[in-house]
Amino acid sequence: MKIENAKAQMRKGVLEYCILSILSQKDSYASDIINRLKEAKLIVVEGTLYPLLTRQKNAGLLSYRWEESTQGPPRKYYKLTQEGEKFLDELDKSWTELVEAVDMVKNLPQESKEN
């Protein structure tokens, strides 16, 4: 098993969650989202984002509007829909549960050592 593969699998799972989280803070266009994800080292290449955004939009989680830009072409600003907000709430819950679960599993061997 390659470490790159395992890492990619983990990243894949949280990527959609992170996109929704970014959009819940502020309506953004693709390059804003890309910069945030790059900062967090969640994406390697930008192309990953576009299919994800399109699928989330087609699933009714996002909507968009066009805005003129002073530099460059008009921008597609994405926004969470009500359904998207509900979806994100659910993901927030399951993320917390997941982190707790992983912590619990990781901490167990230490406790048994103490005993």
């Binding site: 693709a30 390059s31 290449v45 192309g47 699928r55 072409p73």
Partner: protein, 177 residues
Amino acid sequence: MKLTENINLANRIFIIDQDALAKLEEYLKSVEHYFNKKEEATEIVADIENRIAELFETMLNKKKEVISMEDVNKVIEIIGLPEIFMEDVQNEEQTKNKSDFKFENKTKKLYRDPDNSVISGVCGGLGTYFNVDPILFRVLFILAVIFTGIGLLPYIILWIVMPQAKTFEQKMEMKGY
């Protein structure tokens, strides 16, 4: 000296070297081929074209007016080849197929029900199939025998053509699980 072309990318005009244009076209085509649904492909390619236009504009200035092969290569490196960026995209088709499979199994089959039978299980099976109390069919058959000329014949035909649910699997099929 090099020949150039004018292109319209996301409603912007760019002057681009011919070899660089060929490379860009090839790249966009390869992205498009990666998506099964045509609408999805068109939209994603349009989004990516928009991003490329944005990147191109940062590469041009008063001293540099033409997009070169080097610029196109840089853009492809930033956005990534589709076979690389699609690795991080969940494959929806796979999960969809799984749920379809469950659905297909849900069709009911008509069997004689040995666990719910008075004579042969014909009425029990009919009841399960149509989701009603089998007593309804029992009464109907008795009435048919008493008041009509056809008598027992329909019942006997059903007894012959309806197989009995013997195995666990057949019983599940009968109930539509």
